[in-house]
Symmetry: C2
Subunit: 114 residues, 2 copies
DNA sequence: TCCTTAGATCGATGACTGTCAATGTATAGT
DNA sequence: ACTATACATTGACAGTCATCGATCTAAGGA
């Protein structure tokens, strides 16, 4: 049996995946992974994540204009990225500051190529 | 400016992406990447890719039963994975044999973690 | 030349997703 | 308290997607 890493998706803990090719994914693993890739499968979210990962921290208010989306839409997308564990938000005063979670990106990357 | 690799999506060639975090993605880059992640964002396709990557070659006919999907659905999913460059198919006689494209998976992986 | 088989394509349908206007909920300043 | 601000949530709508039955195409075999 291949090495297994632990990956957290939303609330559920997933024993996850030597590599895509090392062993056939179970239905449950595939569902959880699909959620993560689904979060990455939207251009607006990819640009959003790219912006957040490029800076140390980004305020929600700084995303609206460059992405040319309304405030509710930005909120919707940050929610999905956060649910996938790709970003984390911290509310300080009136602003929510978002940070990327590099370990998360690396976990997904390892899954694809190890 | 960050290192740029070349990535082919379907027919179009994309100058693509030091890393998500190294520089903000353009709209065009984000669209192309979203297509790739979209191909990975379905549980049936992930299991399919996992099966193909685990063997050397897999016949379409060998996917129907374990995935519990109809033949048109299998055909639909292989098409999407192939359009994203993640698998390639070769028709030999009556059967189509599918192979994974590891370089492709690695290119995506590098994008996430380099 | 038929018949069979593997796979692709078409058409329909139900489910999901991105989007925004309107509204709700805190927080900060006055 | 009152007002303004930064986000979240809700509701609605349009567009996309997964799925399958039916049909089509191409390749073998009899």
């Amino acid at each position: 049996m291949a090495t297994r890493k632990t990956l957290v998706v939303g609330d559920s803990v997933v024993g996850c995946c030597g590599t895509l090719g090392s062993q056939v994914l179970s239905v449950g693993e595939a569902d959880d992974l699909a959620q993560i890739f689904g979060a990455l499968a939207d251009p607006a979210r990819l640009r959003m994540l790219s912006m957040i990962a490029s800076s140390d921290e980004v305020c929600s208010c700084a995303l609206e204009q460059p992405l040319e989306k309304s405030q509710p839409t930005i909120s919707h997308h940050t929610r999905i990225l956060a649910a996938a564990g790709l970003i984390v938000g911290e509310r300080r005063g009136r602003w929510t500051w978002w940070r990327a979670v590099p370990e998360r990106l690396e976990a997904v990357a390892r899954l694809l190529s190890d």
